[in-house]
């Protein structure tokens, strides 16, 4: 509950800063050496709170690291965090609060797809430059030119999966299992669209609700399909029971999971059944990179568990925002936006971000992990950027 403590303890400071700002503007003095506020929202309670908590810890870590290194353009960063509960209406409320009450001009968004999608147009209309860390719905960046996204959106992830299934695993007949929400469907759409191109035959398609944990009928049907591989979209709390139940029914075919399988909790729930599961667009934890290893150690110490994709990408998002401010030489949201659009080869924890396309979607290779001995192991890097190029408009 760090953000709550923070709120009460800095209220007097807000007031002081307000007074100081008024005084300075009256005197027409130099710009105040204030802090740069970075708005932040993530699901801190509700079904997605696991990811939200990781996101918040990572964001706080990034801010602290930046401030300890002297801040950006001579100013400190300050995080203003709200809970969107992974609900659209709540995300709209907290977005308006960040803009109206806190006067935030720069936002790092740690929301899930649906709530991120609801908040994006509000930030865009207020001219707030926003980096969406991991919300994958296509509509998010369509909100306008102030919105950037640091994760491959659903359809390209799905297309990359089709490429991986056909070229790396050489599987032909696949059953698909879709989680019935924005993220699950968008990602599966990309897979289904690209699979004919690679000669993948989809035997049968199944879908399940986010609330479901019992997959008996789907498992029985997949067993009858007898596929070479199974592609499933889901979060760890659906993926864990799903994978365990598929394996418990004696299904041996490789399981390929979507990005949100990437959670320690997935391995905990599925236990030995998780072994051999591939996760496409998953954080490459084995990469020999000092920043990544330092992040791992520090995050594990703070959170009590190792970081996941969500944590690392939120950390990278805050770092990129700081880099954008630095390159713009200003915290003005339009200038930061222009600087971010020019990003070239920025070192993220996930690897090197080559840049953004016209829609401010990332151009970047995709890593695939496999679960081995209860751990995430790097398996492959998908470098065919054209195969999963993000949409341009």
């Amino acid at each position: 509950m760090l953000h709550r403590k923070w709120k009460t303890s800095t209220r007097p400071m807000n007031l002081l800063m307000g007074v100081a700002a008024v005084a300075l503007s009256l005197a027409m003095a130099q710009p105040a050496r204030a802090e740069i506020k970075i708005g932040f929202q993530a699901p801190l309670t509700g079904f997605a709170a696991t990811d939200g908590k990781s996101a918040e810890i990572a964001a706080e870590m990034a801010i602290e690291n930046i401030n300890n290194a002297g801040g950006v353009i001579g100013e400190k960063l300050r995080l203003i965090a709200y809970d969107d509960q992974a609900k659209s209406d709540q995300a709209i409320f907290t977005a308006n609060k960040l803009i109206g009450e806190d006067g935030v001009k720069l936002v790092v968004n740690g929301s899930y797809s649906a709530s991120g999608r609801a908040a994006a147009p509000i930030f865009q209309n207020a001219g707030v430059t926003t980096i969406v860390a991991y919300g994958v719905h296509p509509d998010i960046t369509l909100a306008g030119d102030h919105i950037f996204r640091l994760v491959h959106l659903g359809p390209p992830q799905g297309r990359a999966t089709a490429l991986f299934v056909a070229k790396d695993l050489k599987l032909k007949n696949v059953s698909t299992i879709t989680m019935d929400n924005d993220y699950g469907q968008a990602t599966m759409d990309g897979f289904l669209e690209a699979s004919p191109k690679y000669g993948i035959k989809v035997i049968n398609k199944y879908s399940y609700s986010l609330k479901d944990r019992q997959f008996g009928s789907i498992v029985a049907s997949v067993k009858r399909d007898n596929p070479d591989g199974i592609y499933a979209t889901g979060y760890f709390f659906t993926a864990g029971p799903l994978v365990a139940q598929l394996r418990a029914a004696g299904i041996k075919a490789p399981i390929i999971g979507s990005q949100a399988f990437d959670s320690q909790k997935f391995i905990e729930i599925a236990g030995p059944a998780a072994e051999g599961t591939y996760i496409v667009d998953s954080l490459d934890r084995d990469r020999n990179d000092a920043a990544l290893q330092k992040f791992f150690a520090e995050f594990t110490k703070r959170a009590g568990y190792p970081p996941e994709s969500v944590a690392s990408v939120v950390y990278s998002a805050v770092k990129l925002m700081a880099d954008g401010i630095k390159r713009a030489g200003s915290a003005d949201p339009t200038k930061v936006k222009d600087a971010l659009a020019e990003t070239k080869n920025f070192p993220m924890l996930e690897g090197t971000l080559i840049g953004f396309n016209s829609l401010h979607e990332i151009i970047m290779p995709i890593s695939v992990n496999v679960i081995e001995d209860g751990k995430f192991k790097f398996f492959a890097k998908l470098g065919d950027l054209d195969a999963f190029a993000p949409p341009e408009k």
Binding site: K211, Q214, G216, I218
Partner: protein, 300 residues
């Protein structure tokens, strides 16, 4: 594949689906019977029964992890939840019985929300899992067919429980008194049956059933999170309506029908609708045809 093999694999498939459907049905039945009993006796929609179910799941996992024995987990759950159920009656419903039935119902909803948050605060948003590898317990080979052992356990548990319940209510004095009180409380009281004790018995038994269902679902999912009671709760409510409010037999039939509709429905229209949507479509359709429920007795 030869045509004989194909036929065999098709047969296995439909049997698989039937087992799945019966598993769902048994889970719903163990959950819904407690609700039906409370409604039959007190005319209260006992929404907080979902919290009892969740408590059963939590106690099973936590005790199993502490002692290293899943069986002890179940025993603990069966001991703890009846106390909780009876406490709900004593502290929440009894003082409110003099008001309209929607008053205790709203209190019940409040208790469910409170309990969900209590689980969240006490055991975390992420939920808890069994420490030992439950997966090892999950798979068995039956005549060359690999099946999920927990599914089988659910079906066997439900069969044993409902047979036992049947014997209890038809062959023992307490059971007969209980049944009499549920159907004709005033006449039963005039024969010397203490209606208050019957109420406690009711909550104790219903809660123990919900706890067993909760523990089995915990095993099947290997995940107990604060929202675990949510889906079963609203489905169980629909089931007791379909069963003909307050009827145990109707509730059992409705549970199995719904389980099978879900299991087969997921296959035939699962591409467009998920399991919950299919279940509720079926419920709406069935209630339009039989508004009085399966048993055909208008209890209201």
């Amino acid at each position: 594949m030869s045509s004989a093999q194909l036929l065999r694999s098709e047969a296995v498939y439909y049997v698989d689906l039937a087992v799945t459907g019966i598993t769902f049905g048994c889970m719903y039945a163990m959950m819904a019977v407690g609700l039906a009993l409370v409604y039959g006796l007190l005319r209260i929609l006992h929404i907080a029964h979902a919290a009892v179910f969740a408590l059963g799941a939590y106690v099973t996992v936590l005790v199993a992890n502490a002692t290293g024995s899943v069986a002890l987990g179940f025993v603990a759950a069966i001991l703890v939840t009846p106390l909780f159920g009876m406490t709900i009656y004593r502290l929440l419903y009894e003082p409110l019985l003099k008001y309209r039935p929607d008053v205790p119902m709203i209190a019940s909803v409040g208790l469910l929300v409170l309990m969900q948050d209590a689980f969240r605060i006490g055991f975390g948003e992420q939920g808890v899992t069994f420490h030992r590898d439950v997966y090892d317990l999950m798979t068995v080979d039956l005549l060359g067919v690999t099946v999920n052992a927990v599914q089988i356990a659910i079906v066997i548990a439900a069969a044993v429980i409902f047979l036992g319940l049947h014997l209890f209510t038809t062959r023992t004095r307490i059971g007969v008194a209980w049944r009499a009180t549920v159907s004709r409380p005033k006449i039963a009281a005039s024969f010397g049956v203490d209606p208050i004790q019957v109420r406690y018995l009711n909550f104790a038994l219903g809660s123990a059933l919900a706890a067993i269902a909760g523990g089995l679902v915990a095993l099947l999912n290997n995940l107990v999170d604060p929202s675990i009671g949510y889906v079963v709760s609203y489905k169980a409510l629909a089931i007791i309506v379909l069963g003909g409010l307050g009827s145990v037999r109707g509730t059992l039939i409705a549970s199995l029908v719904l389980g099978l509709v879900e299991a087969y429905g997921t296959i035939f229209i699962g591409q467009w609708l998920d399991r919950d949507a299919i279940a509720f479509l079926a419920l709406i359709a069935l209630l339009m045809v039989r508004p009085q429920g399966f048993t055909g007795v208008r209890t209201a």
